[in-house]
Amino acid sequence: NVGILIRLRADSHCHIKNEDDQWQIKEHFLTPLGSVVKRLPEHIQVDDPDVLKKLAKKLERQQIPRRLDYGYKVSLFSHLLQYSRKAPLTQQLSIPSAVIHPAIVRLGLQYSQGIVAGSNARSIALLHAFKQVISDYTTPSNEELSRDLVNKLKPYISFLNQCRPLSASMGNAIKYIKKEISNIPSQFKEDDAKKKLLNCIECFIEEKIVLAAKAIAKSSIEKINDGDVILVYGCSSLVNHILCEAFEKGRKFRVIVVDSRPRLEGREALRRLVQKGISCTYVLISAVSYILPEVSKVFLGAHALLANGYVMSRVGTSQIALVAKAFNVPVLVCCETYKFCERVQTDSFVSNELDDPDDLIVTRKGETQLKDWQQVPRLGLLNLVYDVTPPDFVDLVITDLGMIPCTSVPVVLRVKNVDLL
């Protein structure tokens, strides 16, 4: 990229001059396995005013409005953003926007309102939107497609980040696209280049998501026996796919769907399974100690698998794994390899997402207890989205590369990185 100067020093610290012409020290690991530059994402540094100022300047330069925090934030989470669903970013944009492609605007709105949710769904929607962007793209004169297109995508990514922080799977997908774009040889004509890129995206979706799901389903069916009682939590597209496939192959089992407020995603999973004809039971997460003695296996989906073996998933997953461990019920996590992430995390505080706190408000028998929670001075509502499950609660991870223990995730990451290089 134009404008970045890298100066390597003997003590392996790297001074990088970024777009604002400021020198910043970033840790640059020069290892024989390649170099990895790690940068802390801005959406978990909200309590640092310098970071906020830099972000505001960057967004102004890219002409993207900034989304503001909403409501009283619990002090333990003051480093995270908390948005209200009633104030989507698109209200501050002029439609049609000159800067942002309309497909991206629509996608951003779908993310922030929760219409598109779930890491697979979000990644696929993102890739389809990018396909639209690429087919509508024309290279300006004096510019090379491989460099200009990447620059064009940057404000879109900032916009989507403002609508809802990017998930690990989306991050990996974006990295892949950027790499493909930069690898376009300069002698390609524009039409050929665009066709190649669209093809790459199609391949990615086909290989990493669709075929991976098929492979995982095939391995998982060996783990499902007749007469099993399987517990699932929330709505994971992969786990639903596995159960439907197993039912079609003729396995006899029944499913217990555990759900939690305020998202109540389990109802969607319940509908899909009941439609297939699988016999289901439905409980809330507070009743999981009651229902677990009947259960023979627990199948969980994942949002991302971290490099230290922790599983990042919907909040409540770690609790289910904990109680299952106490009752000696095996816990199996199903995850495609494109969700593997190089981050490490030990608790659910440092890197998480805060959803709209108003979702916790409920009206029972005509009374809404928390209606005026903003007026009450010392009351806070916490609506976490993710949590991390320690690897000792998980017995097996089923991926498209096979069945691995939780601790082998960095091995898979290294193998993937070697492939990509």
Partner: protein, 383 residues
């Protein structure tokens, strides 16, 4: 209000003694009419128990139930004709069985009945002049030589017995009124400043406990809302109005947040004979999460919640309410194809509990069996 209105309802329904009830004058109470009035009161209490048992009615605190049961037993002692302690115990046992059957999950009713029975035994023994120690010690030798059955048949008549029993029941009532305050007084011994305390659902005992500590110390409380009834919301608004920094979290976030919690303080519906708990659903998960992080779990439970039940009586342990709370009727056609469960209680084993705080002080779960033997007589465990 409820009792008086249902009283009138019962009065109009009872076919016999209808005229007599209407023509009763408040000053003089002739014999058979006293019993009608008593029966009415008992019926009113029973129907109230039955109605208040589902999660939908206004939730009565267990303290209220305990007080009302004891007041009713005092009335029975005063008004029913009995000649010896044995007769009185039979009457109380009979009424007690009916009351327990009306709402099996409300164990305070049975506990109070057993306390009163124990009071009667003690007063009888005192009237007879025999030392209490000798009677109460259940030594192995005595068990073998007596052949299993107690030699006492409580047939002797003592004039002062009635007055003594009623006085003892009055003492019991005074004790019941002071339980919440006694527990709240111990708050400052257990909460230090800048702590993060977690609790679940709504317990009046824990509320009083935390509010008492908040008068002198500053700390932060995290309340798990406890779906589907979401009583945690009420608890949070009440605590925050008293100046305590409160956060409401969903049940799913209990484990995620537990690593920052210093203490877990909960209330319970019943304390079982092995030191375990029958508490609101979600408490077992909370206890497991606390154990995983080595966070102490403190249970604030007054003595009248201690019950001689054991947890392995499967069919009487769990109580279920309408599944409509979990999956509402608006979900449509999938309702007919899905089983939905909505249990109200959870079992928490004694290994997960660190401390019990009751109106007589703090105890470890391993001491509960001893307290039970002091409160109830072994022959009263089965009413």
């Amino acid at each position: 209000h409820k009792i008086t209105s249902s009283c009138k309802h019962e009065a109009t329904l009872s076919s016999t003694n209808q005229k007599a009830a209407c023509s009763r004058s408040p000053g003089t109470m002739p014999g058979p009419y006293r019993e009608t009035d008593l029966t009415e009161k008992v019926e009113a209490f029973l129907s109230d128990l039955k109605r208040g048992g589902s999660g939908t009615g206004p939730l009565r605190g267990s303290a209220e139930t305990a007080r009302e049961t004891t007041a009713l037993l005092r009335r029975i002692t005063a008004q029913v004709r009995w000649s010896s302690a044995g007769d009185l115990m039979e009457v109380i046992r009979k009424e007690g069985r009916r009351m327990s059957a009306a709402q099996p999950s409300e164990t305070t009713v049975g506990n109070m009945i057993r306390r009163v029975l124990k009071i009667i035994r003690e007063e009888y023994a005192r009237s007879r002049g025999s030392s209490e120690e000798a009677d109460q010690q259940e030594s192995l030798h005595k068990l073998l030589t007596s052949g299993g059955l107690s030699e006492e048949n409580f047939r002797q008549y003592f004039t002062a017995l009635k007055a003594n029993v009623i006085e003892a029941i009055n003492e019991l009532l005074t004790e019941l009124e002071g339980t919440t305050d006694n527990i709240a007084m111990q708050a400052l011994e257990h909460i230090h400043s800048n702590e993060v305390i977690m609790t679940i659902g709504r317990s009046r005992t824990v509320e009083a406990f935390l509010k008492d500590a908040a008068r002198k110390r500053k700390f932060h409380v995290i309340v798990a809302e406890c779906a589907p009834f979401c009583q945690g919301h009420e608890m949070a608004t009440s605590l925050s109005k008293d100046g305590i920094e409160t956060t409401v979290i969903t049940d799913a976030a209990i484990f995620a947040v537990m690593s920052r919690v210093n203490k877990v303080i909960i209330g319970t519906q019943t304390v079982l004979a092995n030191g375990g708990l029958r508490a609101v659903n979600g408490t077992h998960t909370l206890a497991l999460a606390a154990k995983h992080h080595s966070t102490p779990l403190i249970v604030c439970a007054p003595m009248f919640k201690l019950s001689p039940q054991f947890p392995n009586e499967e069919d009487t342990f769990h109580k279920f309410v309408s599944p409509h709370e979990v999956l509402p009727f608006t979900e449509g056609e999938i309702l007919s194809k899905v089983n939905v469960h909505c249990p109200v209680f959870d079992y928490v084993p004694p290994e997960l509990i660190t401390l019990f705080i009751s109106n007589i002080g703090g105890h470890a779960p391993s001491y509960i069996y001893r307290l039970m033997s002091e409160l109830y007589h072994p022959e009263d465990h089965e009413l």
